[in-house]
Symmetry: C2
Subunit: 281 residues, 2 copies
Amino acid sequence: MELARTIEAVRESVKTARREGKQVGLVPTMGALHVGHEALIRRAVDECGFVVVSIFVNPTQFGPGEDFENYPRPIQADLTICRDAGVDLVFNPTPEVMYGQENLTWVTVEKLTEPLCGRFRPVHFRGVTTVCTKLFNIVLPDVAYFGQKDAQQAIVIKRMVADLKMPLRIVVCPTVREPDGLAVSSRNQYLSPEQRRQATKIYKALQKSRELVDAGQTDARQVVAQMRSILEQIPKAQIEYVSIVDAETLDELDTIAGRILVAVAVKLGPARLIDNIVIEA
Amino acid sequence: MELARTIEAVRESVKTARREGKQVGLVPTMGALHVGHEALIRRAVDECGFVVVSIFVNPTQFGPGEDFENYPRPIQADLTICRDAGVDLVFNPTPEVMYGQENLTWVTVEKLTEPLCGRFRPVHFRGVTTVCTKLFNIVLPDVAYFGQKDAQQAIVIKRMVADLKMPLRIVVCPTVREPDGLAVSSRNQYLSPEQRRQATKIYKALQKSRELVDAGQTDARQVVAQMRSILEQIPKAQIEYVSIVDAETLDELDTIAGRILVAVAVKLGPARLIDNIVIEA
């Protein structure tokens, strides 16, 4: 496995792989790799002859007061995971490589970035779309892999790729969960043992929404209210949002119909946790 | 010469050219091709084995009340010029192909888009950078060619390419002028014979700035004042700006030093004319 720190090194290796007729897959990550990332990497290794994992804690997707400084950076463990998973190239650039002295150019997606996490993290998606554009331009992958856990991110990225005619395909992989249902996240390690136990209520609330919808409930407010009553049992949790939206447009729904996304964001101590499920109503 | 109207057709042809080991050059245009465009095309044909000219009057770079509807679209004449110049592929998409039902994604460059034309055309550069990103992603050229006449555009595009790590090189070609000095532009055809005669004062004002700087004048306001007194002799002209800026940062200069851009925009009847020169002071 190769470890590249410069754009030129990545381009050189990818060019060689291409000359050998290999499909190129990219898994963009911020490191602190967990079994969720491993599922993305495994899928990439299955589908592509040359797999690149980028590990870059992207400063521009963190707002002021968010956890950029404290975000875990266990690079040696990450490299081991990549090596064991059959990754060909890890790209681990510095902020200087990605942003130079001063970055003036931004990629923004309107509308889809406004609801859900966009309301609470105003610069987040601009940072995500901009860094992904750079990574796509550096690696020029045929396919890039994202997780369904960050549902809004996946929708925003897909729209960006379609609108800007980027020459790649986006694959979204299912959320990986702990045995008790909690969605796997690098931020789960911020939780105390007690918070970690309480955090399972997030998935319980999502499961409740599926039950209600399956039982014929079509009033979104009723479903949200029942989900909130579960989440409010978590001591000291701040519920940012509990939303039922169209799974494609992210428009808030009053009446549940079609393919819906049920999404939750909760602040629990030092961790901001998000999770979601898609239901065909 | 091939005429492509779809993204798929362009990608297919470019892929074939690449397989043959050819360098790919792109000349992005809005059509109404003139000798200025021909110079760009000639340079591309000299340097690249496969030359693509895009012809697309890009709606998003025109503001309300600008000349989008009236912009000339002599497609048959344009195709003849391309054929005669040795172009391999003309890409002439519809707005639907480029923007779909609804475009939500934009590429923006801060700071460099604020002065000069940016002050008078607030959505213009966002439209240019967004459409160029799409064209670059569709054609994936090794080189793209722009004219120095649109000096700010060239600087903005170069910055976008650098910031977003786009895998291509930007070449900026010198402004082509009529025998009397007027910069060649598709918009010159909007001028009446009398306006056309008066329009030569734009280049005269730029030449005056060079004279003054060469003679040792370092006070930008003095130079601008003398240029304005020439431009004010054009009956009914509206001077949008006469600016002396750093040729790289586009920062307004009080004291002339280093590599400077002297830039002018004048509205003359139905035409908005821009021109500029670079001086090493």
